[in-house]
Amino acid sequence: MTDLATPMGEDERPLAGEYVLGVLDAAERAEAERRVASEPAFARAVQWWETHLTPLAADVASVTPPPSVWARIISLIEPARPTAWNNVRLWRGLTAAAGALAAACLVIVALPKAPPPTPVAPPVAQVEAAQVALINDPETNQARLVATLDRATGELLLTPVDMTMPEGRDAELWIIPEGQKAISLGVIPTTAPKRIKAPEGLKAEGLYTALLAVTDEPPGGAPTGVATGSVRAAGKFARA
């Protein structure tokens, strides 16, 4: 389009408004969407137009969609949480107990000789076969990550629950054995579960006293192997 080759200034050409109104062609829309993602001022202009033009939609007749649409939506989201392990409501129910645990963990960080962590009631029968750690936001005590130790395979299953990192920061998981330095377990995804090998020497009893913590780090993780960001979540394994 010649309009894009010789762009007019935003004053002459209200591009954000044209995008929101819907008159741009496919190539121009793609370019506008790229600018929304990369230019905060343009993104604000788009938001302004969305706020001010969308009330027109009140004049569009509502049409009830067929029930099959909701059935499809629910069938697509249900597999995301097929078991108790990533059932958020179940974990939410444990928040009170986990809060006390997280508080205890923070004390442990400060004082090497701390009381043993309060046991958390097992949420489901599998807890006897697999230990669970709730890694909570230290400020709100909301669960951010659930770590499940699978004894059969010696793996940790990490299930992010409600984890967000600041823009441009990665989540890095650390294990801090009692009285020792933090050991990086690597950068972890914030939206998808991940399995990692449980760290050597920390199986069985060692896991109960070690603290798991998530910090925000530069992309790819802390460059020197020592945490540089803030602690976004922390927690311990509970005894079954």
Binding site: D3, G17, L21, P55
Partner: protein, 184 residues
């Protein structure tokens, strides 16, 4: 229920969706899907495609609810804008609907009953309509048709029977006038 209350309830439900609460998604769907389906159908003019886009919109809500900022946007604006964008992207992908009904070009937008729980406040609507009414009637018609149908400049020009350059100038001048009027 007044507009402020329904807006607050909807915002809270979206916040719960961010915590993977599918009952909250169901609440959002129950209160907004008819409006969003109407918006999609109006642009796509094809039930099957509108159903696909609607599904896509709520799956996006499920996955990206944490991006919704109630300080910056009203929940229904966020949802309708998403439904419009997905629908417009879809018709652009199928090559545009160039002959979008010459007959409907001059037709006025629907004035069907509003979904009482989700619409913007009357104040915002009245203000926008007041500003649109200050435009040249032909320009106002073009703006409304563009919004409801999601037509490109090209399709809009053909549909309303004016040269492309004229249509661009109508819409751009209208947008600049609207911005001044809405900011006043």
């Amino acid at each position: 229920m007044d507009a402020d209350t329904s807006r607050a309830l909807l915002s809270r439900a979206i916040a719960r969706v961010a915590n993977r609460d599918n009952d909250a998604l169901k609440y959002v769907y129950r209160h907004t899907s008819a409006k969003l389906f109407g918006v999609c159908l109006r642009i796509l003019n094809d039930r099957e495609e509108a159903e696909d886009v609607l599904q896509d919109v709520y799956l996006t809500v499920w996955n990206k609810a944490d991006r919704f900022d109630p300080e910056k946007a009203s929940p229904i604006t966020w949802l309708v804008a998403m439904a419009r964008n997905r629908s417009i992207d879809r018709i652009r992908a199928r090559g545009g609907r160039v002959m979008a009904g010459v007959d409907e070009a001059e037709a006025l937008p629907d004035t069907a009953p509003l979904a009482s729980t989700v619409v913007e406040t009357d104040e915002e609507r009245l203000r926008l309509n007041g500003c649109i009414d200050q435009l040249d009637p032909k320009h106002a018609g073009a703006v409304r048709t563009a919004f409801f149908e999601g037509l490109t400049y090209d399709a809009l020009a053909q549909s309303l029977g004016v040269p492309l350059g004229t249509m661009k100038s109508w819409i751009r001048r209208s947008l600049i006038s609207l911005r001044a009027c809405l900011e006043a």
